[in-house]
Symmetry: C2
Subunit: 258 residues, 2 copies
């Protein structure tokens, strides 16, 4: 099976012009077929506040009302996505910017209202991996922002990590897929206070041990749960660390396998 890399970058890179340029260079140099997924970070919050739209949070999670969805569509789908595409073109990567509505690539269900009404938030239901592959086969590099659609004309705000893992799961029908989650840390840390205590390899058994020892907790717990879920659904391996893991020179990151 041919290899495919799915790389996710977060808001911290998007918001820093220099970091973004350095990352896009690394991504452009990454060999083989690839997909980029980006978050939007605080730019949507800033834009919302400039427009006088209040960011409503419940239990630390953002509520996407109609006005907020408009801002997200402008900032993630327009400003961030199209500038990333233009910058990749300048680096000779033939990028194509996408939401889940484009080529019907990612369909989602509006999250049902239970205790909290999250508003226009979508949970991924279906990835049109054959359609996405048509772009890849045409030598285009898909660049996804964190927006999906419900198939009935409604755009929906969707977590970029989830888009990454679901697209990777879909593409695993056709490719040996590797996910690269780029974030601020060097990887999953043995000791949260020591940024160099990277755990270089985690598999199901090691993960169980780490859980029992209480080393995996807080924000890292759902991330790793999602990783093992993706691995169980066909993703070949998942890598977590800073952007330099995309080079061959740095092996100081966390590789996760089943």
């Amino acid at each position: 099976m041919e290899k495919l890399s799915i790389v996710k970058i977060g808001g911290n890179i998007i918001e820093d012009d220099e970091a973004l340029h350095a990352f896009l260079k690394l991504f452009s140099n990454l060999k083989g077929k690839k997909i980029l997924v980006h978050g939007g970070g605080k730019r949507a919050t800033h834009m919302a506040s400039k427009l006088g739209i209040e960011s409503k949070m419940i239990n630390g999670r953002r509520i996407t009302d109609a006005d907020t969805l408009e801002v997200i569509t402008m900032v993630y789908g327009g400003l961030v996505n199209k500038n990333v595409v233009a910058k990749l073109q300048a680096l000779n990567t033939n990028a194509i910017g996408l939401t889940g509505a484009d080529i019907n690539s990612i369909k989602s269900d509006k999250r049902p209202v239970k205790e909290v009404d999250f508003g226009f938030v979508g949970d991924v239901k279906e990835v049109a991996y054959k359609s996405i592959d048509k772009l890849i086969q045409a030598d285009f590099t898909p660049v996804f922002c964190a927006i999906t659609h419900d198939g009935n004309g409604q755009l929906l705000n969707t977590n970029a990590d989830t888009i990454t893992s679901q697209v990777a799961v879909g593409m695993s029908h056709l490719y040996e897929t590797s996910i690269y989650y780029c974030f601020e840390l060097n990887g999953v840390l043995e000791n949260i206070n020591d940024k160099n205590s990277v755990i270089k390899h985690i598999d199901s058994k090691i993960y169980k041990d780490l859980l029992e020892k209480g080393i995996i907790a807080d924000g890292m717990l759902p991330k790793l749960e999602n990783c093992f879920d993706a691995l169980k659904h066909g993703v070949h391996n998942i890598n977590m660390g800073n952007t330099s893991m995309l080079t061959r020179e740095n092996d100081n990151f966390t590789k996760i396998t089943l």
Copy 2:
């Protein structure tokens, strides 16, 4: 040669939810391979004013400074384009939203500064018609907004009519292309005060006569000059009228041929 329709809609349709929905239905029902190009109309101006960005006009033309380009990228590339794509998906048209940066589809040169510095405005230089055709061959329907790029990472604001004619000229290498310019009038009018005085056919000879009689003037003059330029460069025919010309039921519009 297979036929390809390139349809352009302006801001008046984009801004009116009902008119937009009615148009998108007509567009979805249009048989054969097709491309949509949309302007953004006054939504960008409204958004700019909400954000406290002054719209600078010189000789009636908008100056695109860096802040204005940001708004245009958000509104045309994000808000308008992605909502149009989602609505087309709901109508079973497998749309894909594009700027000229995506798949390097439309490269332009930043307009040189002469008497006026228009800012980040691009004049189309090159249409990657073979790349656009890869999307069409994959049964996707391209939806272009009025943004191009210079190939060096810079997005540029570009007139939607120009994008329409230049894309049509490019695609004429591969298809028998028809342009449909949808606008408020029923067509080119013999008498500007009589909306039913549509001139149903204009060719080079008739055009010359109309010019001599002074019937073509003002805003219509550059539009028709552009039309004949496109026809000379391979476009098969150009149609101007209201959106109902996309149906077979209305023949009350202007058809332009060489």
